[in-house]
Amino acid sequence: MAQLTFRQAVARGIAQEMRRDNNVVFLGEDIGAAGGVFKATGGLLDEFGPTRVRDTPISEQAILGAAMGAAMTGLRPVAEIMFSDFLACCWDYLANEIPKMRYMTGGQVRLPLVVRTANGGGLGFGAQHSQAVENWAFAVPGLKVVAPATPSDVVGLMAAAVRSDDPVVFFEHKGLFASKGPPAPDDHLVPLGEAAVVRPGQDVTLVALASTVPVALGAARELDRDGISVEVVDLRCLVPLDMRTVLESVRRTSRLVVVEENPYQGGWGGTVAGIVADEGFELLDAPIKRVASACVPLPFADRLEDEVIPTVAKVCDAVRRLAAY
């Protein structure tokens, strides 16, 4: 069967839901005729026309504000913010408006909307177009946070995100767009909040998300040669966070390394590590390690950028230290 690229999976996932539900609409910058700057939304304008697929001005606040108002009044908008760094230009909507409106009004409204955005580094886009900011969204109660690692998960999680009656921030990692995988079955749906054990193992648990899933799997393969058996958990979502799967895995391995692309300071791995250090304290036979990005802006040159973000070598190093503990 032909492989599906991550990039194609995005358009397929959105198209699947737009076909199913006429209230699903899509807006953003250069998403229509241009098919998106990452060419991840090609064909949607042709299939669904300009009332459902709408190009916007460079007005990130208007994009998310409009998505919010539309979601409160019966539509299911999917809004694209081109690079996740630009979430900073409309952060008020993600931090103060969208996640709080239902709660503040005592449950009078629902906000079924999806904010899609290209996240992460490793492509030499420089400090303002390369950040992994899934932890920003994770820090705001009231947002669901999704970050798929495979093309098939893109389709299945997109379906769940669009059908969710809650606001979802959907992080598509730029470095994964070109990656390939088995195609998704028809009408594929992956429920939000279910982590996947993508490789079983006995000695050490690696918890990963999006771009760090292939990094963790690469490390697992390499460590296998040294006789270290590594279990890899793909969280898939930060909210809802499937700590049960993580804690069960740690119960088997007694050792945990969290692999995250956001910076160490304030990264989501801190929350995961904190929960395990509390609720899983007795399961642990060794310190918890976090392999995260160095606490600096992302530099431009390849060689420098590689030093900052998690790599197979850095993960292997952390695992070896735990295995030797």
Binding site: Q61, A62, T73, P141
Partner: protein, 307 residues
């Protein structure tokens, strides 16, 4: 009602901030009468009058101000976030400017659903200097949305006169041309003028004519919020505006137009009684149950973020 709320503040029953719209009632009244029941209102923290003008009963509004469980949002939102979706009051927003794009979204939805609804968005003069204002107005025009933007120019942001921080004289109306947006400059203390402006802008939006910007000049009789006695304003200016208080002015006009003194007295009497009753009911409301804390983050009614 507003005076009663003010009394309650003085009695210190309402904690936190609260922002009255005494002196600015004519704007809400004019629109309240002109709007269709299913139209959308987007208001600010100064949204009491707009909420009542859409027919929301007084008791839940007062109870919300007091943080009681019989409040409009069960005490979870508070004075700055009055919302009653059932009456088309789609929220009161406390971050300056944020609701202008949101109103655009509701208007877009109305257009997409071909429902004929119009979104009306109220905001202050100070709001015209924030980025979201700019993005929303351009967006509304480019998408030809059924939205009416209403700037209540009460001459001040919190404590600073708007003229000290704004490059143009009429902070909203003088900017309409930057968006190719039809605009009107009206007397916000005259309910009839407000009603006429509202009616024409609503009709235009409803029939596909797109957005309108209305700037209504008015004045805040009290301070910005409970904490503010409003001392920074020159007394002459305050006196001049108090003399233009829309309530007595409108009363005189009604008398002149032949409405009987008796009829007006009856209305006033009924209003006072309603306020008394609502105050009593609000005060009698229970403190909200702690179960509410973890309710309604999500559409399923809960707030669980992990397992």
């Amino acid at each position: 009602f507003e005076k009663r709320a003010y009394d309650l503040f003085l009695q210190n029953l309402v904690k936190g901030t609260s922002h009255l719209s005494l002196g600015q009632e004519a704007i809400a009244a004019g629109f309240g009468v002109a709007m269709r029941p299913d139209d959308y209102t987007f208001a600010t923290y100064r949204g009491h009058a707009h909420t009542l003008a859409r027919g929301v009963p007084m008791t839940p509004v007062l109870a919300e101000l007091l943080g009681r469980e019989n409040g409009l949002m069960a005490g979870k939102g508070g004075s700055m976030h009055l919302t009653s979706v059932q009456h088309g009051v789609m929220g009161s927003y406390a971050i300056i400017g944020a609701h202008l794009p949101i109103a655009c979204g509701a208007a877009w939805s109305a257009m997409y659903r071909d429902s004929g609804q119009v979104a009306v968005c109220f905001f202050g003069d100070g709001t015209t200097n924030i980025g979201a204002f700019h993005e929303a107005l351009n967006f509304a025009v480019v998408w030809n949305l059924p939205v009416v933007f209403v700037c209540e120019n009460n001459q001040y942001m919190e404590y600073t006169p708007i003229s000290a921080v704004t490059a143009v004289k009429n902070p909203a109306a003088d900017r309409a041309s930057a968006y190719n947006l039809p605009s009107m400059l009206v007397d916000g203390n005259d309910p009839d003028e407000m009603y006429d402006a509202a009616t024409s802008a609503l009709a235009k939006a409803r029939t596909g004519g797109g957005p309108t910007l209305i700037e209504a000049s008015t004045y805040r009789h009290g301070g910005h919020s409970r904490a503010d006695p409003g001392k920074y304003r020159p007394q002459g200016e305050v006196d001049a505006w108090l003399a233009r208080d829309p309530l007595p002015a409108y009363r005189s006009r009604l008398l002149m137009f032949g409405v009987a003194e008796e009829t007006l007295a009856d209305i006033e009497h009924a209003a006072m009684e309603a306020v008394e009753l609502a105050t009593a009911e609000a005060k009698a409301g229970a403190v909200p149950s702690v179960d509410l804390v973890l309710a309604d983050v999500w559409a399923d009614g809960g707030s669980s973020w992990r397992n």
